[in-house]
Every structure is written in C-alpha cells, then in structure tokens.
C-alpha cells in the first residue's frame, strides 16, 4: 500500500479576491504530480484557513493572492500559524507578487514564493524539495 511520503497541500484563497484560475490550475498540477490537494474555495478568512490546515493535517499551505495584499496577509497568517501550533507547516505564496517583495516574504518565513507564470514543474519540485 502506497501511503508514506504523500504530501498534503492546502491551496487557499484568502480574502475577497475571486480570481481563482491560478489556484485551480495549480491544484490540478499538484494532483498530477502525486500530491493530495485540499482546495479551500474562495473568500476565506485567515481563521478559516488556519482551522482547515489544522483539521486536514496538511504539510503545506499554498496561498494564492492576486489583490496585492500578499505582505499583510502572509505576515498575519504566519503569526496565527505559530500561535495555533502549526509552526512546522510550510507556507508558500503565489499570485501577483512583484519580485521586489520576494525577499520580504522569505524573511517573514514564507518557504517558497511562486509569482504568476512560475512553471508547474518549478512549483511541484519546489514543494517536494521542502521535505527532502
């Protein structure tokens, strides 16, 4: 029975932005790369994301943010993850992310940043590398 080494990922759309094409196609790409993917759906509060990640016991939370609010959202989520005992879960951020913000996100504790246009291959291997 193949059970070990499965990576469980929560792809989450925080906040009010509804552009979900990117999140959805990344879900499909992750599935095809052998991940177990939980999709949060749209309009999620950070509290909903934290609780979903807790209940689903995921290894990675992948945020998809197109509204430009990636810095405040990531900062707040990381604080909430630490507070809720999820400090060991990896956080990745994708969407409309200007390159100049990537170092800031990484300093905050974001494990990987996948700006729009990042290839599926880079996303899936990038996520797998987090667990090597």
């Amino acid at each position: 029975m193949e059970t070990k080494n499965k990576i469980r990922v929560l792809i989450a759309k925080p906040g009010l932005d509804g552009h979900d094409k990117g999140a959805k196609i990344v879900c499909l790409a992750l599935r095809d790369a052998g991940f177990e993917v939980i999709y949060s759906g749209l309009h999620q509060s950070l509290d909903q994301i934290i609780r979903t990640a807790t209940q689903e016991a995921v290894d990675v939370i992948g945020l998809s943010i197109m509204s430009g609010a990636h810095l405040p959202i990531s900062e707040k989520l990381i604080a909430m993850m630490n507070k809720n005992g999820l400090g060991d879960i990896k956080l990745t951020v994708g969407g409309v992310i200007p390159n100049r913000d990537i170092p800031t996100l990484k300093e905050m504790g974001v494990a990987q940043v996948f700006p729009g246009g990042t290839s599926f291959d880079k996303i899936t291997t990038g996520m797998k590398l987090l667990f090597k």
Binding site: M1, E2, R31, D47
Partner: protein
Amino acid sequence: MLKIDDIRSGSHLAGARLIRLIEDNEPSAIELLKSLYANTGKAFIIGITGSPGVGKSTLIDALIFQFRELSKKVAVIAVDPTSPYTGGAILGDRLRMQRHATDPDVFIRSMASRGQTGGLSRAAKDATTVLDAMGFDIIIIETVGAGQAQFDIASLAHCVGIVSIPSSGDGIQAVKAGILETGDIFIVNKSDTPDADLSFIELCGMLEMRQSREFLRTLPPGLPPKTDNGHPTWQPKVLKTIAQDGTGIKELTHTFLSYLDFMKKNNLLKSKQKTQEKLYFKTLLKDLILEKINGFMDESKYVETALNDIQLNITDPISAAQHVVNKTIGHKIKE
C-alpha cells in the same frame, strides 16, 4: 509529541495529527490508537454514500447545520478517490462545508482513498475511532458508492444513508450496484427537479420488494419481520430533500436520530456493532499476517531455499509454500 490527553480532550490539532499518522501507516500511531479504545463507543456513525454529482457534500453541509442546532458535536470524514495514474488527489468535498470551518465543535477531514477504490481503508475506520475518542457525538463518513475495498460503508457506519437524484431508471441501477440492501435511509436529493416523484415511488416500490424478501426469510408469515434474536427490524425510509436550500433536512436529521433510538431500544445497535467489530478484527488479523509474511519473504532464507528447492525439483511449490506459512505463522508476532 502527541499526547493522548489532548486527543481525549478533543484538541483538533492533536486529533488531526494522529489521523495523519494513521493514514501514513506510521508505527507511532499504533500505541496511541490502542489506548483510545477505552474512550470510544459514544459516537453515532452515519455513512452517506451515492454516485458523484448527487449532492452528498451539500447535503452533509446542511446536516451539520441541523445537528449543530441540536448542539451535537459533528465530525466529517470525506473520502475522495486517489488517481490511479498519479497517486494524487484533489479533495474538494469540504468546499461545500467551509462555512462550518470556524465552528470549534465541527471537524472536517478529507481523505484520499489511496488505493481503496470506491471504498474505505482501514485508516478511515481508525480515524472514526480517533474522532469518537475526541468526543464527537456524530461522525459522518462521505464516500462514493460501493467498491472493492477493505471496508464498505455498511461495515463501518451504524446507519447508511444512500443519496440519489431523480432520474428514471436509477432504482434499477441501485439494485444492480447492490446498494439497495445496505441502505437504512434513502434520500432523493434535488427533489425539485422533474422525475422526483417518480424516483421516490420507484424507490419505495423496490424497498417493499426488499422487505418482502426479508419477510419471506423470517417465517412464519403474518407477523412483522423479525431478526434472528426476535426483535423487529428497521424499516428503511425514503425521504425527499433539496440540500441546496435545506428543504427536508430537518426531517432527515430526525430520521437519523430516530434510527439510532430504534436500534438502541431494540438492542440492535449492539449486535450490529458486534458484526462490524468482527469484520474489523478479521481485517486486522489478515493485515498483520500479511505484513508478517511480506517481511518474512523479503528477508528469510526459507524463501530463498524453498525457491532453490523448487527449481532443483527437491520439492513441489505447494509443499514449499505450506512450509513457509508454517514457519511464518509460527514466528512470534510482536504484540
């Protein structure tokens, strides 16, 4: 790391992580699981099954709402198929239930079938044990139809709800799939669509036939159907719902609860649980023995010798296999 007391006191974090360990076949889960059994047996386990697209998740979302109105703590295990090609899965059932995500008395866990096509793995069964020990009053298991698997829903749930949507000929499908025999409550969802009444009547008719088959088995005639121990049996119910707007869900909730009452009152729940435990126990035995043999085959010199002996015509394959099994089973299993 994981503390048994945290699970017993209902910590979502601890419970979820134990379920993950179980799912990943981590040995560390075994000891924790063992010590949880003393805390189980309180939850009412409901199975919800039906073909894709009949609205199971939406229905469960509405059920959660109703059970919460009755102050019941609710856990859900939603099983989705693993892709046989990639081993991956998108687990999207909770998408419809996400409004309950922040309710501390609701716990939703998606599970990939991981090879147990159409059915449930031992992990799903063990997950209900964890959730039961966490103190949930209701555990709902969502799964797609029946299939080849370690457990089907009827061997896990106390009560099985089978969801279908109006469409002529669905009843025939149900008979073919054998699900008619396993259902305790039949739900015709999306009943605002044409053919709803037809499907309803068709299902009722088929259940009557099922009843009379059972009736014939429980002669003498003229008396209400009885089981072996002389108690009346549950008469399957058919209900119409529109999960999307909540129509019929209150009634469905009460039907589930009245099923539980009925089963308890007539001492049927105990006997059902006994049958289920028996199956679980047998599965455990099979798994353990298989594991043993697998391990043995990988490392044992007996297997190597036997294969050589077969090749050299010193022994026949049947005798050699019997020898290996005797050696294996005789080998002490770590307890």
